[in-house]
């Protein structure tokens, strides 16, 4: 991390003040949970992120939008180091969680991913029982002392994901037999089970029907009381509905970040305007 040392001093204090591009401050205040400064990422020779400066406010939903290939998912994956294992990827700049550089050598990536969980585009439950899917994380992280405590985590996670009433009588059944929407909520419950602080969601509703999508959106709104959420979505109406802050990416650049209502109503950049009104290229 070339630039990390330069930023470390200013980035240690918590809570951090939320800083956004000058002159276009949304009505958001409160501490910053995650922050990127001049974050650049290369796939081999190709520069895919060109110096991203973005603050992720705590207990808010931040939506990342932009056309395919704009870098929004790449950026999302930088936030819990999911890009590390990809051959030829090189990352420079700063990404921090509570002011601490997440690319620091001292950081345990497994622990980082427990703090910054991820929900993927397609529901990906393990081919195990509903119970074991949720218990998996707490078991490997040693979060439960004994069966009763583990049962408690499983139940509370399923409740928080709005799934308990639907599955409480069949926890031993295979998770892969659930509907798509249930599987995605199970994956959210599985993420919650290890008590993360941040949940990254990569198009969590793109494979779901409208009712399941509505349930997930309702869930996202409830979850932000306890978690900080970053969501990548191609569905602009979804971004408008669920998020408080929206960041628009294009060709690896962060074009505009603003309060969601402001961005969808009166965007500051003509490129944002063209994209959200369907006039893009």
């Amino acid at each position: 991390m070339v630039a990390a040392a330069e930023h470390a001093a200013e980035d240690t204090a918590r809570p951090e003040a939320l800083t956004l591009p000058a002159g276009r401050l949304p009505a958001l205040d409160g501490p910053v949970k995650m922050r990127s400064r001049d974050l650049r990422l290369w796939y081999g020779d190709k520069l895919a992120l060109t110096g991203i400066n973005l603050d992720i406010p705590e207990h808010q939903v931040t939506a990342l939008i932009g056309p395919s290939g704009c870098g929004k998912t790449t950026f999302l994956k930088c936030l819990n180091r999911m890009n590390d294992t990809i051959d030829g990827v090189r990352i420079e700049g700063l990404a921090s969680l509570d002011g601490a550089d997440i690319y620091d050598r001292a950081i345990d990536v497994v622990q980082l991913r427990a703090r910054v969980g991820m929900v993927f585009q397609k529901p990906n439950p393990f081919p195990k029982s509903i119970y074991d899917n949720i218990a998996y994380g707490p078991r490997i992280h040693g979060l439960a002392n004994g069966k009763r405590e583990l049962d408690g985590i499983v139940e509370s996670s399923l409740r928080r994901a709005g799934l308990w009433d639907e599955v409480s009588g069949r926890l031993d059944e295979l998770a892969t037999g659930m509907s798509g929407g249930q599987q995605q909520r199970l994956c959210i419950a599985r993420t919650i089970a290890v008590s993360p602080e941040v949940i990254l969601m990569d198009e969590p509703c793109s494979a779901l029907d409208p009712i399941s999508t509505a349930r997930i959106e309702e869930l996202i709104d409830e979850l932000r009381d306890n978690f900080t959420i970053v969501i990548v979505t191609h569905n602009l109406q979804q971004a408008a509905r669920v998020s408080q802050l929206t960041a628009f990416f294009h060709l690896g650049r962060l074009i505009e970040v603003n309060g969601t209502a402001e961005l969808f109503h009166s965007p500051g950049e003509s490129m944002t305007e063209d994209y959200i009104t369907g006039r893009f290229g």
């Binding site: 602009l236 969808f264 109503h265 009104t277």
Partner: protein, 235 residues
């Protein structure tokens, strides 16, 4: 309008909304101009034609309402498109009211023509012409996306209020001086008030056009002339 949408039919729908607003705007302009002319010249045939034509303005409003609802439901417009449609919807409603008020002026002009004397006819003409000019300007501002012109119209409301207040006082003075003028004077006052209200609606449209173009309403409270009848913000 900026670059075209990827979905071309969306552009056609937005253009259809604009066409209705401009058609309505043109009709309302004509109705106001003709209402003033019918009043000044005592032209009963023209006054009746104004009353008959009002229904066509109402039809345009219904069509704008239907089109905008359909676009909102099907396209989920955002940013400038959303502001444009909201402006169209509100402007259509204001234009429809302006049409009604012009028809009211025509109806009352038929009544006062039976009176032996009509006070302040020339003053009504001046007030009517000023409001007519505001209306043409605000329709042009919508058509051309001209925020400066829209704001100029918005600021004119104060002088319209002042003109109305002056007309009101003059009518009052005429009626005090000659009680035979009380009946026609009351009608003339209603006509003056109707014309002044047309100006208020033009000002509302000017606000919306400013919002459509700049993404925000004009900066400060609308300038208002002090009311001569002691009712603040009398509208």
């Amino acid at each position: 309008m900026p670059a075209q949408h990827t979905v071309r039919s969306y552009d056609s729908e937005l253009e259809a909304v604009d066409s209705h607003i401009l058609a309505m705007g043109g009709m309302v302009e004509d109705q106001i101009r003709n209402a003033i002319q019918a009043l000044v010249e005592g032209n009963r045939a023209l006054a009746r034609r104004i009353i008959d034509l009002d229904a066509r303005i109402d039809e345009h409003e219904s069509e704008v309402d239907e089109l905008v609802t359909r676009i909102v439901a099907l396209r989920q417009p955002m940013a400038e498109d959303l502001r444009r449609l909201k402006t169209a919807l509100k402007s259509a409603s204001n234009l429809e009211r302006m049409g009604d008020l012009a028809a009211n002026v025509a109806k009352r002009s038929l009544v006062i023509e039976d009176a032996a004397q009509v006070p302040q006819r020339e003053a009504l003409k001046r007030l009517g012409n000023a409001v007519y000019n505001m209306t043409t300007d605000v329709v042009d501002a919508f058509r051309d996306g001209d925020a400066e012109l829209a704001q100029r119209v918005w600021r004119q409301d104060e002088s319209i209020d002042e003109m109305y207040n002056a007309v009101f006082l003059a009518i009052l003075a005429d009626m005090i001086a000659d009680p035979r003028l009380i009946a026609p004077g009351t009608h003339v006052h209603f006509i003056a008030k109707n014309i002044e209200r047309i100006g208020d609606h033009a000002t509302n449209i000017a606000e919306m056009v400013t919002y459509m173009i700049l993404g925000k309403l004009p900066d400060r409270d609308r300038p208002k002339a002090n009311s001569v009848i002691g009712v603040d913000g009398d509208q």
